[in-house]
């Protein structure tokens, strides 16, 4: 009797355990299926883009492609800039990345190439001269690693620009600075008027970097960073780096940046809002914020109150004041892990679906300069022609266009640089400490 009861009890508990294990396993299976959007609806290609100014343009382009090519449709998702950079790398590392990998070129692209995560597009480019010919050659070059093409430009040229509020300048009776000394002289003028000279999205850290990039470029020329990017030992010890950092701290000391700059995030566009609301007179930011301001402050932009100019020259500096830093463009890489059908759909889109006349028009209408040839007439016909021709000319005439350092360097170096530069702006470390810390990251 008792033995029989026990048997039943045992069987029951065993069944319970098995079903529980089953539940656990199926849950675990759910977990490994990966993020929604990576491999849904079977074999269609997937694309991850960035929210912001280019989002509607990209959405429209993919929508119209999907309409005419339903058998090669693309599934598109958008992410915020900072979150995307973390997410895509983790996803690619886990083999769950999208077919289209959105990137900036540089060190991050190289790390994908080194681990065989992105497809070699050299043959594709050779077979389709039409694709190659549409791009500005200086921009196309940024998608190459060791002479092979791994990424193709997909949007607009984004040099870093010095924006200013003309209304505020008129009120104070000032002119935009042409040299660093003029810039420093403007600081007390604006401060006396109760206006912050410069807005800065310091919490995001990368806006800090624009100051260092331009100052090093103006003081020491493009070779300084070229040596750093090439991982030459001690390359950070170039006197231009120390001088640039010293100038940054002098500007911080003078009260050049808006109160609370280290808690302002650029992802929320608060930094540009400070400039167009007149709380700050100027902001050094990427060409892309024009699109944002056009949307968020249309009256300010339309009425011509938005001024823009190049970064001032530094007296006695070696760098050509026409040189530019920023992002030559963003790029599409094609995942090496994608299926053949996904790859084919992706390449067909790159060939026939991108930079169509409608795409180009949409980009220009949004206030951006597409990275392709033969658009001068279209730019000149745009209501934003002043800004667009300025950016186009800036990019085209620049003897050298340096890629944003955090993208050009390896992720480990880039992260260390941003953290330490943040410390420079907060005056927690000296330029000498910055240099020796960064020299230690060479080759990492």
């Amino acid at each position: 009797m008792n033995g029989y009861k026990m048997k039943i009890r045992k069987m029951r508990s065993a069944a319970l355990a098995i079903s529980a294990a089953g539940v656990a396993l199926s849950l675990a299976a759910c977990g490994s299926a990966g993020p929604a959007g990576s491999n849904v609806s079977g074999d269609s290609a997937t694309m991850w883009g960035l929210t912001g100014g280019n989002q509607p343009v990209m959405q429209k382009s993919v929508d119209s492609w999907n309409q005419t090519n339903p058998e090669k449709s693309i599934k598109l998702d958008f992410f915020a800039n900072d979150a995307y950079k973390t997410k895509v790398r983790t996803a690619v590392g886990a083999g769950e990345g999208p077919t289209f990998i959105y990137g900036w070129g540089g060190g991050v692209l190289k790390s994908y190439v080194d681990s065989g995560q992105v497809a070699d597009l050299s043959d594709f480019v050779k077979e389709n001269p039409k694709v190659k010919d549409r791009y500005l050659p200086s921009v196309l070059k940024n998608g190459e690693v060791d002479g092979k093409t791994y990424a193709l430009p997909n949007n607009n040229v984004q040099p870093v620009v010095l924006y200013y509020n003309k209304e505020v300048f008129e009120k104070v009776g000032a002119q935009p600075p042409k040299t660093w000394d003029e810039l420093m002289a403007l600081v007390p003028k604006f401060k006396d008027a109760g206006i912050a000279p410069f807005s800065l999205g310091g919490q995001s850290k990368w806006p800090d970097l624009m100051w260092l990039e331009y100052l090093v470029e103006r003081i020491g020329g493009p070779e300084v960073f070229a040596n750093i990017a090439a991982n030459k030992p001690g390359a950070w010890s170039d006197p231009a780096v120390t001088e640039a950092l010293t100038k940054i701290q002098e500007l911080v000391d003078a009260g050049g940046f808006i109160n609370g700059f280290s808690s302002i995030a650029a992802d929320s566009n608060a930094d540009q809002a400070l400039m167009y609301t007149g709380k700050a007179a100027m902001i050094l930011q990427g060409g892309w914020i024009y699109q944002g301001m056009k949307k968020d402050a249309p009256d300010f932009v339309k009425s011509g109150k938005l001024g823009f100019t190049t970064f001032p020259a530094v007296e006695g500096g070696k760098g050509d004041p026409a040189n530019v830093v920023g992002n030559p463009s963003n790029f599409w890489s094609i995942s090496a892990k994608a299926t053949d059908a996904q790859k084919k759909a992706a390449l067909d889109y790159v060939k026939d679906g991108m930079f169509t006349d409608a795409d180009t028009k949409a980009l220009i209408d949004s206030g951006a300069v597409p990275v392709i040839n033969g658009i001068e007439d279209k730019l000149a016909a745009s209501p934003d022609k002043d800004f667009l021709t300025f950016v186009y000319g800036m990019a085209k005439k620049a003897p050298n266009f340096t890629l944003s350092w955090d993208q050009a360097l390896s992720p480990a170096q880039g992260d260390a640089m941003l953290s330490n530069l943040d410390q420079i702006f907060l005056k927690k470390i000296t330029p000498e400490q910055f240099v020796s810390t960064m020299n230690a990251t060479t080759g990492k």
């Binding site: 008792n2 508990s13 294990a21 973390t86 919490q203």
Partner: protein, 300 residues
């Protein structure tokens, strides 16, 4: 025959079947133990998250242990842990005792107090970030100079702002724990005390507090060990800044792993975090005394 006579006793001794623990054990194995072993293994390798995993011996550990940022992260973690406890424990204990009373207005207030429990950490962080903004926040909006500080950008202030926001979010949870604890104290104890002429304060000091001993230990354990896991809130609120001012250990681990892509060092930090967490939990359990599992309730 012998098996028949011994079997029932064994079953009774064993209590409920051990199999009942199987689902929990399987989950624990799959989602805690296995990843834990993985983390310990990864801490002896170098891996950038993309390429191959290379065994590197102790190099990640030397990097982590010699990096001043790690030491700073430990200090920040300890500070946040201490201040969070000092702020949250008394406030939630008093609020818990207050809301445990049966009066209607107290029940209504309790509902309001518990509202922050419904909000996700990210939402709380975004809301406070907007309120505390030095240019567009609460202070400048209402033209209140005292509220117009650089709350999140001033290295000296930011830690206390973070402690405040954490308290705002978690006090309701601990209040709920204390409320439950107080309601379990038998009313007869208070009745006896009243007959003996004990006032409110004496009742609180001599009955409520000792009766809540285990609730206090539970709540304190959650508070202290939980502060090792504050991540989402601070990540969104300050991102660890300005500089390294609020970069506490879990955040340092995340940024090392997913921003700098150094999984080896991040895993070493993870191991440190686990050791500290387990140590603290054990310590707090010890403080509870030996018979900590015995009920204090009358008649139990």
């Amino acid at each position: 025959m012998t098996s028949l006579s011994s079997a029932p006793r064994r079953v009774r001794d064993a209590g409920p079947s051990g199999w009942l623990a199987a689902p929990a054990l399987i989950f624990f194995l799959a989602f805690a133990v296995v990843p834990l072993i993985g983390v310990v293994f990864l801490s002896f390798t170098s891996w950038n998250g993309l390429g191959e995993i290379k065994l590197e011996g102790l190099s990640s550990w030397t990097t982590v242990l010699t990096d001043p940022v790690t030491g700073n992260a430990l200090v920040v973690t300890a500070k946040i842990m201490f201040f969070s406890f000092v702020v949250q424990a008394p406030v939630s204990l008093l609020l818990g005792v207050f809301t445990a009373g049966g009066q209607k207005y107290r029940a209504a207030l309790a509902v309001l107090y518990f509202l922050p429990l419904l909000l996700s950490s990210a939402a709380v962080a975004i809301a406070f970030k907007a309120l505390l903004d030095p240019n567009f926040g609460l202070g400048p909006g209402f033209k209140l100079p005292i509220l117009t500080q650089d709350w999140l950008g001033n290295s000296d202030l930011v830690l206390f702002v973070v402690v405040f926001v954490i308290a705002w979010q978690f006090v309701p949870f601990h209040t709920l724990i204390y409320q439950g604890g107080v309601r379990q104290i038998p009313a007869s104890l208070y009745e006896a005390a009243e007959i003996d002429g004990a006032g409110r304060f004496r009742q609180f000091w001599n009955i409520t507090l000792p009766q809540l001993k285990y609730t206090i230990i539970t709540s304190s354990t959650l508070m202290v060990v939980g502060s090792l896991a504050y991540f989402d809130l601070i990540f969104v609120l300050t991102g660890g800044g300005p500089g390294y001012s609020t970069r506490l250990l879990p955040l340092h681990m995340y940024l090392t792993g997913f921003k700098a892509n150094d999984m080896g060092a991040a895993s070493a930090l993870g191991v440190i975090l686990i050791v500290i967490g387990l140590g603290l939990a054990l310590l707090l359990q010890r403080l509870g005394g030996k018979n900590r599992n015995a009920s204090q309730l009358e008649g139990a």
